[in-house]
Subunit: 293 residues, 2 copies
């Protein structure tokens, strides 16, 4: 298997499916433009990649995973739009482009984020290729991962915590919620979409996802210290300057890197019983910790 | 039937169910407090009332409608929190209390709204008493009513339109999306939750709901002109001062009132074939156009 080609093909698939699912005009042109802007602005499509590769890890095909891959990316896209708002992280640039509230206005950015969240659940509810029980299970997983006990709680802790998080345990909790919950949801939904996932394999996939969610965040923190502004598409060192807690700040750069590699080992080992079926999913895990932005 | 008592009992039921479904603490205390504040701040619970009475209109019981009644109220609550934000309507008072971003802060208000939306779908996905196909159908209805082709589109038009809407047709479209979509969703979900709704009765309920959604909005506009600030819990004449289009402004007060009554007639007539079963639902329709706040 050629991992970069595999990843590229899945990223292209995710973008094409998003394009087809968002092929609407609606009553408010400004709102629809802002929805498209938030979704089609690129990005690595990490969560869809995990959905697809997880579906293949349990012996399924990609087509059934299309809707959950799309839905989780919509939740991710909405969270970026809202996190960038002046009242939150106040970011004016994302992936080298103006953030939504700069490109449009604050009200439109808030509304586009709200509509993206509804749309994620709309897609899952309309996923025709999936049986109703599995669709409902995916909606349960995604709504719980996105909401008060998942991503939103993590963002709330992140905002509350500025300057307060001093130890690895608190930092890990914040990231487990803010980033980890959605990554774990991606992996679980991809497997469930196939109708082929056993309870055992779901538990193993969850271990893998929990490890890789945290490894993903440590990599982000390392990139923020090391990365070049040009490649990142945002100001390098931004987390430091906002006094946001990071792994390198708490553990030191070398120890942070070791922690990330240990999580990668633990995560990929959890997939041992999947044999060759999980090679692609492991390839994506490697991509997560080796990426340059 | 004693309508005021029936309405009071359903309002109490909705508030109690919301209380039980939101009985959690979570990781971010501030977020959870803001969620509770937005939901337990009172309100008329009109959407839950419609869910419950619609369930009874098709011969069902109240218990199966609990989760959709709750879910639609959460969507309504989130929309109020976001609509009140400085970037949107910039309201500091709602039902005589500080709005969420005043009571907490802007970031917390945005996040609480986001979490309330996720929670609505979480409740529907976990509604144990409903069969999976009906749950999925309710999620489809609610997500479509809430999102880019429903409520959010209406709010976007409302913001874009300040000073631009000059005729009844455009005004009706804006309200059909902003308020009507969720009211129609309430009526349809209530009926579907029972598992007893035929295609014909759903179509008749939809006609009723479409009429009453618009009548509800006209009543709101009339109250804004006539109501006393004390009873409304907000500044009377606020819509006028914001240059928001209203029915009395476009049609005149008397004509607006006639339009509202005509919609009430058309809506309740659509329920004729339901016989006595729809008496309570008609009672709620009367309450909608007769309320004093």
């Amino acid at each position: 298997m050629n991992t970069p080609e595999y990843i590229k093909s899945l990223q292209d698939r995710a973008s094409a499916v998003l394009e087809s699912r968002l092929n609407f005009t609606g009553h408010s042109e400004r709102l629809v433009n802002a929805i498209h802007y938030a979704v089609h602005g690129g990005g690595k499509r990490i969560r869809p990649l995990l959905c697809y590769a997880s579906a293949e890890a349990v012996g399924g095909t990609l087509d059934k995973a299309d809707d959950c891959a799309c839905a989780v990316e919509l939740i991710h896209a909405y969270s970026l739009v809202h996190d960038d708002l002046p009242a939150m992280d106040n970011d004016e640039l994302r992936r080298g482009q103006p953030t939504s509230h700069i490109k449009f206005d604050e009200a439109t950015a808030i509304l586009a984020g709200d509509a993206l969240q509804s749309l994620a659940f709309e897609l899952l509810a309309n996923a025709g290729k999936i049986d109703p029980s599995s669709s409902l299970e995916m909606i349960r997983i995604l709504s719980e991962a996105a909401g008060w006990k998942g991503m939103v709680a993590g963002q709330s802790l992140d905002i509350e915590s500025a300057g307060k998080i001093k130890n690895e345990e608190d930092l890990a909790l914040m990231h487990r919620l803010k980033t980890g919950a959605l990554i774990t949801a991606s992996v679980k939904m991809g497997a469930i979409s196939t109708g082929l996932a056993s309870t055992t394999s779901l538990a193993q996939l969850e271990t893998f996802a929990t490890c890789m969610g945290l490894a993903f965040q440590i990599k982000d923190d390392i990139l923020d210290v090391e990365g070049e502004t040009e490649v990142l598409g945002k100001q390098q060192g931004q987390d430091q300057s906002l006094n946001k807690p990071t792994y390198p700040a708490i553990l030191g750069l070398e120890e942070a890197r070791k922690r990330m590699l240990a999580l990668f080992e633990e995560g990929t080992q959890a997939l041992d019983s999947f044999g060759m079926n999980a090679e692609k999913l492991k390839g994506i895990a490697s991509y997560i910790i080796e990426r340059r932005h």
